[in-house]
Symmetry: C3
Subunit: 137 residues, 3 copies
């Protein structure tokens, strides 16, 4: 029987928020002993990714690359209703994705030592972002 | 106990097909009340992605960016047996991915308001594309 | 009840290793008849992807593109403690992702004919890479 939880994460504009502890806390109290944590973000202009948790310059460099991959205000964009970061945010969300599946066992996420789970805000402004975590066994 | 369904989607060449309603219909009749819909496409030259469902220019702009990320007929490609779009299609499939996991509850996909589920055809010609949807609880 | 298995894959530096048979073997002996194989790699400088299994030039061309998307030793990188391939490897891992979900039925992965499951080593040197496979029904 799947367990489902809702989280709300407040972002401060473009950048990443570490949500590892939030997911780990749900897994710690899971009824199931062994299974998978499915993490899903209900938006199209932010994303979820697992990346290095030790040196914060990794995530800064990822932002540098994302700006190249999907530049703000590119003249080729047709979709720009909400500003220069609007279409860039959707494109970044395509590249990072909006869902992750992470194994757990004995109340612990089976992440590697250097892995953290991050919500990447792709819009320039901060937002309230809804995340659904489903634990299946 | 997982429920598994097969869908076939006909594409008309490069571009995206909205499959949200197809997945929602399966979830509506699911035996399980709460769980995850796993969507998987059995090909290497098309992909699955969740993106904005309101303004169609978003998906047009994504096509513009994908053409930059993986240009058709790039002189560096060694793999070009099936034409200029062949290797580009595999590269686009790497970036979009071929699997999605979407939570559901009470017979409804828990998508955000602006999220749609799309099959992205990455080949120039249309194809019949097989999708497997597994509902787990 | 989920079944969980640990695999270790030895890589020889940048490039891809076919792990399809390893996952298929676990599914062949699964207790569940129908479900999903969740594959997860516990690192931030390698990734998992499903791509063409017939012509090896596809994966060579993907390497060519990844070198463009995240060049080794880019002067913009701040994170370069472990050499020119360090940050590039994290960026490639973001693009390929670290988790896959693949449906199975009757002891067989439901991959398409041309789909293989690959571990992409993104570092220049070889590593021992830990993979967790969770089978849920």
């Amino acid at each position: 029987m799947a367990e489902q939880h809702h989280l709300v994460v407040t972002t401060r504009g473009r950048g990443s928020v570490d949500i590892t502890d939030d997911i780990a806390a749900l897994v710690r109290h899971a009824v199931a002993n062994t299974g998978v944590a499915h993490v899903f973000v209900r938006h199209t202009s932010c994303g979820l990714a697992i990346t290095e948790n030790a040196d914060t310059t990794v995530r800064r460099d990822l932002e540098t690359l994302m700006q190249r991959w999907a530049p703000d205000g590119d003249p080729a964009y047709r979709h720009d209703l909400e500003g220069d970061d609007d279409m860039a945010a959707h494109a970044r969300a395509l590249l990072t994705g909006v869902c992750l599946t992470i194994p757990f066992s004995n109340g612990r996420l089976l992440l590697g030592t250097w892995q953290g789970i991050y919500l990447f805000e792709h819009r320039a402004q901060g937002h309230q972002r809804e995340i659904i975590v489903t634990l299946t066994a």
